[in-house]
Amino acid sequence: MNQSNCKGSMSTASSSTNWKANDVVPDQFPAGLRVLVVDDDPTCLVILEKMLRTCLYEVTKCNRAEVALSMLRENKNGFDIVISDVHMPDMDGFKLLEHIGLEMDLPVIMMSADDGKQVVMKGVTHGACDYLIKPVRIEALKNIWQHVVRKKKNEWKDLEQSGSVEEGDRQQKLSEDVDYSSSANEGNWKNSKKRKDEEEETEDRDDTSTLKKPRVVWSVELHQQFVAAVNQLGIDKAVPKKILELMNVPGLTRENVASHLQKYRLYLRRLSGVSQHQGMNNSFMGPQDATFGAMSSLNGLDLQTLSVTGQLPAQSLATLQAAGLGRSTTKSGIPMPLVDQRNLFSFENPKLRFGEGQQQQMSSNKPMNLLHGIPTTMEPKQLASLHQSAQSIGSMNMQVNTHGGQGSSLLMQMAQPQSRGQILNESTSSHVPRLPSSIGQPIMTNGIAGGVIGRNGIGDNSRGTGYNQVPPSSSMLSFPMNHTTELAGNSFPLGSTPGISNVTSKGSFQEEGNSEMKGSAGFMQSYDIFNDLHQHQHKSHDWELQNVGLHFDASQNANPIQGNLDVSPSVLVHQGYSSSQRSGQNRNASAVGRAMFSGVECVEQGNMQNFSPHLNNLLVDNSVRVKAETIPDANCQATLFTEHFGQDDLMSALLKQQQGGIGTAETDFDLDGYSMDNIPV
């Protein structure tokens, strides 16, 4: 192996470079581990170097972060691990950490004389694999090799399992649930309806699984190409597949791009974290909104579904619906148009039409399953925030689902929130608008997102709850995606959720519920999540990470339904959601929706199969990995965002309505096409 970076001692152990986790670890290991140590303090640097040499590592020291970065870039596979100080004059240690994570994906250990909890936490959130307090003792350095092994092992394991995941370690870190999702999801995904996606996915999977991809090193040029592609596509619409096409780099796989995108989104999220209060109105917001919308719609739908499936007592369902519907006369006018485009919702029952009578058509469905998966973490407060009935429903589901409680639990949940349900509180309303934007379409994703959100959303409080369930919801999500002409109906749920409460139409809602159930289930989850998010605004960052991962998995496994909606949309939603919450802007919804959409998009493109593994990744960083298989065509994206004037608008309008009671939803967003009255709910 090249010893180029070795400062002086040429250690003989050279195994560190190319061994893989599953390979036999060289006897001399960890001797020869190539360490790059960065610290502006020359005294510390010298001492560390000596200590590391004593541990028989190959040490390269550097006192400037910029120099360190260029060293890493020049010598792509030249180092195994990096140790960096936190406080440096030319670049913040955490920034360096992010760069390394994005570009080289090496394990990084942070060090500082500062042992304050916040700083250590910052290290954790930025992805440091360890944090050492100065003065560093040699004993602490002796074991750093474990981080290298662990990372490689995770990567390898991912490759094995999914054949496409590169960030296995990331997944694992993210959530406990991640594991099951990847394998389970894969199985489920296959069943999903997205045949096209499946095929695509399969192909990808084959590719990835058949070859042990060497780690891709993201050089500056490559990263710049990547960023250019992402910017060109628009952060919301930047899906791995398209990015890959734009970049046109031979040998680069979609998975490489997807995992890199995850990191990049994480990085962006962090960047905007500071300004979150301002609200990230960009794409991130979008997703949230979307989710919201979805959630709301879900709520309505869920009720239906639930009732249909028998889980939700008809009465409760009715009550819920009434609550939701009764609230505002404004119809959710939402998304009907949206629905058309999307057809996403159409899955089993295209009945989404809002206005239609109520029949519950709960067709067959799979949708019911969705509910199960939905992590019901919805908390009452969350409910309230979302929008009354919609919310409540969502929450109900969410809560019920907490552990995948199947329909019954959902139902229960639903019933409960009823009281709350009419919640639609103003507070959340603000969020709601957000949702709508993407929600219209995303409803489908919402389902997914919902699921995801649910998971994630579980909010600060319940972060954990959401986790497990998602699977059913995922399926839900997918359904909207596919093909449904009913989109109109479907979308409505999303958008309408807030509106649902308004919409008294309930009839339609029910129908939608059937098909939407799936989605709604997801939504509910997401719905809850949003609530959560909403409530815990500050959390967005944290929980996103946490939740994201979790949800995805959940949804994947469970949904039999086309479910390809992958969680990503939800993930996106989350992000968007949290941001939106903070910013309290309604308009974000549109952004969110978009974001969600992008998640959805990803899903579409993604291969269904990949979905699961990616979900995990998504978890990590909200990347859109979610392959929305459900949306077979990219039009979803387009339609979602462009066509409908924005579910956000709808949503916000709905939300507004809710807030203000039945009135017309003036909502900040302009419902271009939808009149609130039309919302069939």
């Binding site: 005294t43 000596k50 406080h87 500062d114 100065k134 003065p135």
Partner: protein
């Protein structure tokens, strides 16, 4: 004989550093890193420390002359200074650094200035002691200066 005596003196001197709180456990870590490949490692590190930290001291002195005091900047400097001092095991100096940072956080100009004077004193005392110590160690011969075993 003379050598043995010198070594004995050296050992006593060294022990007094610990007993009187001038140095702490971290210094021993440095000593343990010293080996045949780097027989003067500890001295090299300490020399490096004094060279680098004198620059910091100058910066802090200048910053303390400003009015009003920029506590943030002062705290930053002190954070660096503390890091270095900690890594060589300069216990008393480190304590003064901590005190200084407390005053910075409290915005206590008077306290900062007072503490810094104290810090410079401790810093100078330690420097003198260590210089004498290393000089004697060199005279005593290339044998290990630390009492502990090398590994």
């Amino acid at each position: 004989m003379e050598r043995n005596q010198m070594r004995r003196q050296l050992a006593l001197m060294r022990q007094s550093f610990f007993d009187q709180g001038f140095l702490d456990e971290q210094f021993i870590q440095l000593e343990e890193l010293q080996d045949d490949a780097n027989p003067n490692f500890v001295e090299e590190v300490v020399t490096l420390y004094y060279r680098d930290s004198s620059r910091l001291i100058l910066n802090i002195d200048q910053a303390l002359e400003r009015n009003p005091l920029d506590f943030n900047k002062l705290d930053n400097y002190m954070h660096q200074f503390k890091g270095s001092s900690t890594s060589i095991g300069a216990k008393k100096v480190k304590a003064e650094c901590t005190q200084f940072r407390e005053y910075c956080k409290a915005g206590n100009s008077e306290g900062c200035m007072r503490t810094f004077q104290q810090l410079k004193k401790e810093y100078a005392i330690l420097k003198r002691k260590l210089e004498a110590y290393f000089q004697q160690a060199r005279q005593a011969g290339p044998l290990e200066t630390a009492c502990r075993s090398r590994n």
